[in-house]
Amino acid sequence: MGKQINSAYSLPADHPPDAAGSRKLKAGRRWESPLAGYLFISPWLLGFFLFTFWPMIQSAYFSFTEYSLLEAPKWIGLDNFNKILNEDRLFYKSLGVTLWFVFISVPLKLMTALLVAVLLNRKLRGMHIYRTLIYFPSLVGTSVAIAILWSNMLGTDGFVNKLLSYAGIEGKSWIGSPDTALGTLILLAMWQFGASMVIFLAGLKQISGELYEAASVDGASRIRQFRTITIPLLSPVILFNLVLQTIAAFQMFTQAFVITKGGPINSTYMFALYLYEKAFGRLEMGYASAMAWILLLIIGAVTALIFFSSRYWVFYATDGGKSK
């Protein structure tokens, strides 16, 4: 994630010092050695090496060991991986649950985010207030307190069922039934669309109004404009959000841990939750580390797939209007 910020800010420096960027050029001359640049990013670098890179090296080592947390790790080679892939039913179960969650929640969430962004992209009085209000749930949405609130609201006697009963519908325990628990968590994830929404909104603001004017002069309907102008011009932003949300969804933990504890009967037993229970509940840190590396490979593969597919659907206006 930090990488994104990094490349975003270093963009100007990447440009060749041509005549057009004369102001940037001056700024560039003041620091001729790259040292200053590294100094500026040093807080991030420090954080990265201490809290990301080093633990990763450690977990790579642990994944080849039997490590109970309370005793020193013992080297066992590939045994952990072997056991995970060949014997562990729960591994496949939790992976299946997680894949369902990713494939359904991410598109739903992005669609909601885009829809809301389009609605908020109008010129109305007090729009700033609406934007803030609608973004707000994303700030608090992943917190434990909110998760507990949801679990009370969705219980048999919860607020949701009370509302339904006014409409004459008899509710059920939404998180207590294995048929609806995962769906409920997916709906809860949708509620946190704010971050994607803000990025979509910024993307929408970049699209020149002239395009829409020209299109309406030609008699194109709103829906048609959305399909042929908004979506293509927004596609780089969609790609970005898709990658980010997919990675986040694979690591879904809080709601599954707090609201359903992975239950009922493992119907919401997310991969990250299984990993956590292996590591801290069953004190099998080595095994859990191996699981984490497998998850990394899976996320890497899915992300690569998305990037590969992007050449067929992502459109960069700066390429002279040609889709690659």
Binding site: I199, G203, N266
Partner: protein, 434 residues
């Protein structure tokens, strides 16, 4: 990706900052717990002792008062307490122990005692703490390979809790000390017609391995594990148990599966006893203050039902242990000695950790006990008469019970038959016990 425009990248950056802030916010506990209690390490007089326990609000309040009392009597000794519910407690303790940063004093449970003692995480307590007034049987549950690593701090019988107010109002008498499982099931069936829709007489015990254990004990088939650490689930008894509850479920005397599995113990909204959805369920004596503090005077405790023999047992409610890596082992021992033997401390603690283990303290407290405490003491005395010996499960037993209960959940959702469930239980045992 390179071609995202500047305002897009800016808003991405802003979102990232929020994500980072959120991440930092949730992590800011870590640095403080990483602080080494180095101060006063060489000084016998002053020390800051870290102490952790799990429990309900009543226990938290009482314990904090005892800590204050000790600090008042022993200037220089201060405490850094940390307390939580049961589940997250063990995750955190394991992490701290891995970092060799475990608290000085640790409240320990029988299910986890072997894990920690076997891995040299606990200090030897054979000397320095006065245990003369403790029941030797109970004390032996704090021993690992004949060395004392943990001091039991409450005796804790397992039994049944019931909504006394509601049941008496319907005209049923309190269960006697010799009641049987059949009488329990019959009582539940008699109560059910008098209940409004959405309420149930009895909890579905198919998902509670510990309650099944009481049933198996009462049939004379022993505990879930043998003393030498072998699996001891009797297949015929298990099938009978599943059948009884399948019938009760069909009759609507126990709740449907989705309600049974969504219970969260002690949560006023989601605990089925506290929210009034069921009238009868299992309870350790030490759980009782948690029911009583939410709805005073409503509940009663009953002895574990019997079949051919008694089903109850008494286990140590919990222990105090000291981390082997502590810099303040002697000071910690002194505090534990105070905790179990001091009358002033006993006045404050009452029965928040089960009935006190010291016979002296118990005699001292007995006349002062309130109704809740008397209920616990009553359960102890009723159970003591014919209690089964308590079996500390082998290493990994705590995990096995969690898996056992998950298998039970699959049974009540009709995903597997009780016969398959038995096979799964055997498989889990092989995987969990090491």
């Amino acid at each position: 990706m390179k071609k995202l425009s500047r305002s897009v990248t800016l808003s991405i950056a802003v979102c990232m900052v929020f994500v980072l802030l959120a991440a930092c916010g949730s992590n800011n506990e870590t640095p403080s717990s990483a602080e080494k209690p180095g101060e006063g390490a060489g000084n016998a007089e002053s020390a800051k002792l870290r102490i952790v326990w799990w429990g309900s609000q009543a226990r938290h309040d009482a314990t904090k008062m005892v800590l204050d009392l000790y600090t008042k009597n022993n200037p220089g000794i201060t405490f850094e307490p940390d307390f939580s519910g049961f589940d997250s407690y063990w995750d955190k303790l394991a992490t701290q122990s891995a970092a060799k940063n475990a608290p000085d004093m640790i409240q320990m449970d029988a299910q986890y005692f072997n894990e920690y003692a076997a891995r040299n995480q606990l200090a030897d307590l054979s000397s320095g703490i006065n245990v003369n007034d403790l029941d030797p049987n109970l004390l032996s549950a704090g021993k690992y390979q004949d060395k004392l690593f943990a001091i039991p701090i409450g005796s804790n019988p397992f039994g049944i809790v019931y909504n006394k107010a509601a049941i008496e109002k319907m005209g049923f008498g309190a269960p006697g000390d010799n009641w049987t499982w059949d009488e329990l099931f019959q009582l539940a069936r008699d109560i059910q017609p008098k209940l409004e829709k959405g309420k149930y007489a009895l909890r579905d015990f198919t998902v509670d391995g510990e309650v099944y254990e009481m049933f198996q004990l009462s049939k004379g088939k022993g505990a879930l594990s043998t003393p030498d650490g072998k699996l001891n689930v009797d297949e015929a008894t298990w099938l009978e148990w599943c059948k009884v509850f399948a019938e009760l479920r069909a009759e609507g005397v126990v709740p449907p599966a989705e309600i049974s599995v969504s219970e969260k113990k002690y949560d006023p909204q989601l605990d089925l006893l506290l929210n009034g959805k069921v009238l009868i369920k299992q309870s350790y004596a030490s759980d009782y203050p948690s029911w009583e503090s939410v709805q005073p005077g409503v509940f009663g405790l009953a002895k574990a039902p019997r079949s051919t023999q008694a089903g109850g047992y008494i286990k140590p409610a919990m222990y105090w242990a000291i981390s082997a890596n502590s810099d303040h082992i002697e000071q910690s021992k002194k505090f534990i000695d105070f905790f179990i033997n001091d009358k002033e401390a006993a006045d404050i603690l009452g029965v928040t950790r089960g009935v006190p283990v010291s016979t002296q303290i118990l005699d001292y407290l007995q006349p002062k006990l309130n109704d809740a405490a008397k209920a616990q003491l009553g359960l102890i005395n009723a159970t003591k008469a014919d209690a089964n010996p308590f079996t500390v499960g082998p290493k990994g037993f705590g995990i096995f019970i969690v898996d056992f209960n998950k298998v039970g959940a699959e049974v009540i959702f009709d995903r597997i038959t009780p016969e398959q469930a038995y096979q799964d239980i055997v498989k889990h045992w092989e995987a969990d016990i090491k």
